[in-house]
Amino acid sequence: MEISVIVFPGSNCDRDIAVSLKKVFKSNPKMVWHKEQTLPKSDLIVLPGGFSYGDYLRCGSMAANSPIMSEIIKCGENGTFIIGICNGFQILTETNLLPGTLIRNRDLSFICKNLPLKVENSKSRFTHKYSANEIIEIPVAHNEGNYFADQKTINNIEDKDLVAFRYCNKDGIVNDETNPNGSKNNIAGIINEQGNILGMMPHPERATDKVAGLIDGEKFFISVLESIQ
């Protein structure tokens, strides 16, 4: 199992995701500096959370133009598994590997808290260890997590069952009140049409350690592991 975690200037969840990956995958991911021109052979590529380039200009936009990204786009198109979490999700939308964009939270402030998520698609390669409509608890920590796309794109995502997770309350109710940041249709994470790329705002790597309180992220990583094997 070969995993690459891409490190951009300003990434700050790179160590956290590496710890979670090591725990579940039992192998050390390679930390790949964004200026590399070539990517080591990878079964899984992870774009971690953080503030690449300080979120200056627009979240993820400068990272999307880092030297390593052309390799990553090629890999993504060829079916390599790619996960983008938080800032990683923003980068994936900036590269158009995933549709839509992430804009400023509805209430205009940073949100850091545990949130219930509904597993909307429990058949994907990233989520199949969860049961259908399972309600899980995963933290968010973002200022620009408000998922937006035009109606046609949203319809396409919904029709093709590409929504992985939605924000809800602990009873699974999905509505405006249980929407923390104003995302269209409470979308918290999506998958591309080929099914090999996922982006999500919540941080599953912050939910794989019982001592720190949450473990619902484990099934996410196990799903990916089993899909690759």
Partner: protein, 730 residues
């Protein structure tokens, strides 16, 4: 050549006596650059001229202290080769003028103090004080400061895990923003600021120098008046992205044996870092400002020396290692410039555009710095009989509802949910408890950290208030089952040239000295912020205490939330019912007369040691200290956070305001399962600590007696919603 006039000297905050000393020591008139250097180094902020004779009294060592005050931050031993590095610092004046940038750069500055010593920052805390909630600027300042703290810490990827927020009219025109950072380092990889090796290079790294923050240190040492808003250009602008790069670059370089000494450029920028590093090493330093990376054209030597541009460091390295060091900073896209050399002259010599702009013997800057024994008078409130505070026909439950939704007791969730408090994945106990718990990465041990102060007690009785601030910090660390080790302090006071203000400082220090000694809880770093006054009125004396403790194992620790129903609720410590200076007295009677509760430090220590034993040996996992608001507020917090109610079962004679809302010190609430009750009582009796079994956890209601009960949900709404509705109101 700029002529040095009387007016110019005054503008630099240098008095006649100080100026005569300069003339005498130099044997000539200073240049404008030199005048700027003297002004910055001798400002209250950098020289501690009013406070240093008092600060010397504080205990600064115990068997865990590796480095006490005098370095960029204090260092304590965590065992297994690990050390914690920490400090708290104020950024009050800049935050009042420009709340977002002022608070943000306060956070940035304190992080640099920690990582300059080779530690990776793992936790941020703060201590914030704003004016009256109805004051016209309070909302603007509150929202600006909170988003500034979040903006910087979140981007750095360092969790903000604790803090305090208080509102009081005395801070109307002079808010307090104190930021604390805790880092983890290996004991054998700690870096200090003492320069050494004549001929070694003086290297500048980080962001470029601009004109921001010029004379920040002098501003921080002057009282505010109505024209303070005009000082906005002296507030620095933060770039957390640059600091994140600087952090990673410094830590990467620190893995190698290259850096001889390093210090961040904080208050008074390049001046204080160059002077302090050379003075500590007893060497001279030559700087060539032509090499200084600048952001703006045509900067003068004066501006370069006094700029407080952020995200910059000064390092001493051997010339032959410059290339290797530079490659690390190149990778991270940061400036790296050799701007000088260490000499044997013991002078600081500054050249710019082939001209000598300054040449000052270092000994007159540092040891020649003024030190004052300012006159002081310790004033305490007259004692009053508190019986008038018992006369009210308000129902207990209505008072509880009012207190739990009052600005100073309600939930701070609105604040800390804007801070990433989980990044790094080692936050084991999040904000909202007595202390936060931060795991030492990759181990099963952890740090307990908290920040505390009770300024209204200090105003009423400085000495008791000083004791209480330290004792409360010690208690909060103890509440989670950790062993308190050491503190950092941020001393915020008014104008020390006034006898009573200097008396507040003296009294608080005296109280702290006593508490630090008896509790074995020394001060390892800190900061003094004086002249916190506006239009002649001083703030309440506010010694913010940042506490750090060690939890040997994460197998046993305690948290405030009730966890199981049908547990016995036990108060440890004496309840006498002291109401003067309580939140109850202020909120219900608008009263602030009389003396604060006394702290019995010997009993404090015994009670705390007992609590730690109960947590580690009897595995008691529910502990909360009793502080602001008294017993009933502490119990309500335990209920709301645990979603479990309680039924009090106390003697009728205790069903009164003083028992329920008194703020007697040195008390904890624990909750004990029936099967452990006998063992727990035995421990308590053996320690000779008074206790009272006051009822049981049970259901979803708080039941005090037949006339006073309420659903937890109703209280939770009151508790949680204050901030949001306050900010929505006009």
């Amino acid at each position: 050549m700029i002529k040095i006039t009387k007016e110019l000297i005054d503008e630099h905050g240098i008095n006649d006596k100080e100026y005569s000393f300069i003339l005498e020591s130099l044997g000539r008139e200073p240049t404008i650059t030199e005048l700027g250097i003297f002004s910055a180094m001798w400002s209250e902020h950098c020289s501690y001229k009013s406070s240093k004779t008092w600060l010397k009294k504080l205990p600064t060592s115990n068997d865990k202290v590796i480095q006490g005050p005098g370095e960029n931050a204090g260092v304590i031993d965590l065992g297994d080769g690990d050390a914690a590095v920490f400090k708290m610092e104020s950024h009050n004046h800049p935050s009042y003028i420009e709340p977002y940038q002022g608070a943000a750069t306060g956070v940035g500055g304190i992080m640099r103090d920690v990582f300059t010593m080779g530690a990776r920052p793992v936790a941020l805390l703060n201590s914030l004080r704003f004016g009256d909630i109805n004051h016209s600027k309070t909302k603007h300042l509150l929202t600006g400061v909170v988003s500034g703290i979040g903006g910087y810490g979140n981007c750095m990827g360092v969790p903000t895990v604790g803090g305090e927020v208080e509102f009081n009219a005395c801070y109307n025109d002079n808010i307090l923003v104190n930021a604390m950072c805790v880092g983890i380092a290996k004991i054998n990889k700690i870096f200090y600021s003492k320069a050494s090796g004549i001929g070694n290079s003086v290297v500048y790294v980080g962001s470029k120098t601009g004109r921001d923050g010029i004379h920040g240190a002098t501003m921080a040492s002057a009282e505010f008046d109505d024209s303070s808003d005009e000082k906005r250009p002296t507030v620095q602008v933060g770039d957390p992205f640059a600091e994140k790069l600087l952090l990673e670059a410094c830590l990467e370089l620190m893995k190698e044996d290259i850096i001889i000494a390093i210090q961040d450029m904080g208050a008074a920028g390049l001046t204080s870092s160059a002077v302090e590093m050379a003075s500590k090493g007893n060497v001279g330093i030559d700087l060539n400002l032509d090499k200084l990376p600048c952001r703006e054209a045509l900067m003068t030597a004066y501006e370069m020396m006094l700029s407080e541009s952020q995200e910059r460091m000064l390092m001493i390295i051997e010339p032959e290692k410059e290339k290797e060091a530079k490659s690390v900073f190149d990778k991270w896209g940061l400036d790296f410039a050799t701007i000088g050399v260490l000499t044997d002259t013991n002078h600081i010599v500054i050249k710019h555009e082939s001209e000598k702009k300054a040449d000052i013997p270092l000994n007159i800057l540092e040891s020649g710095a003024p030190s004052y024994n300012r006159p002081y008078k310790i004033v305490t409130n007259p004692e009053v009989d508190q019986s008038y505070l018992l006369k009210s026909d308000k129902k207990i439950i209505d008072i509880l509802k009012k207190l739990i939704s009052s600005p100073n007791l309600c939930s701070r969730r609105w604040v800390w949910e804007q801070y990433d408090h989980m990044v790094m994945n080692d936050t084991i106990l999040r904000p909202g408890g007595d202390s936060a718990i931060i795991r030492v990465h990759g181990t099963n041990k952890a740090l307990a950290v908290c920040s505390d102060s009770t300024p209204r007690y200090c105003a009423a009785d400085p000495t008791e208030g000083g004791k209480q601030a330290v004792a409360e910090s010690w208690r909060n660390i103890t509440s989670v089952g950790a062993k308190p080790i050491a503190i950092t302090d941020c001393m915020n006071f008014g104008n020390p040239e006034k006898e009573e203000i200097m008396g507040q400082f003296a009294g608080v220090i005296n109280g702290m000295v006593e508490a630090c000694e008896i509790l074995d809880y020394p001060v390892v770093s800190g900061n003094v912020s004086l002249y916190n006054e506006t239009n002649g009125k001083g703030i309440n004396p506010t010694p913010a205490i940042g506490g750090v403790g060690l939890l040997e194992s994460l197998d046993h620790f305690s948290t405030p939330n009730f966890k199981r129903t049908n547990e016995n609720i036990i108060i440890l410590g004496d309840t006498k019912g002291h109401l003067c200076q309580s939140v109850f007295a202020y909120e219900i009677f608008g009263d602030s007369q009389g003396l604060p509760p006394k702290v019995d430090l010997i009993l404090e220590k015994k009670t705390g040691d007992l609590v730690r034993n109960l947590v580690t040996k009897l595995k008691i996992d529910t502990v909360h200290d009793i502080s602001d608001g008294g017993l009933l507020i502490a119990l309500t917090e335990m209920s709301i956070s645990g979603e479990i109610g309680f039924q009090l079962n106390i003697d009728k004679s205790n069903l009164n305001y003083s028992f329920l809302f008194g703020e007697d010190q040195g008390r904890y609430i624990i909750s004990v399962e029936d099967k452990n009750l006998n063992d727990a009582i035995e421990y308590i009796k053996k320690s000779n600590i008074s206790y009272l079994n006051i009822g049981k956890t049970n259901g979803k209601k708080i039941k005090i007696d037949r006339d006073n009960e309420i659903d937890i949900e109703e209280l939770r709404d009151l508790y949680e919603n204050w901030f949001k509705s306050y900010l929505k109101s006009n």
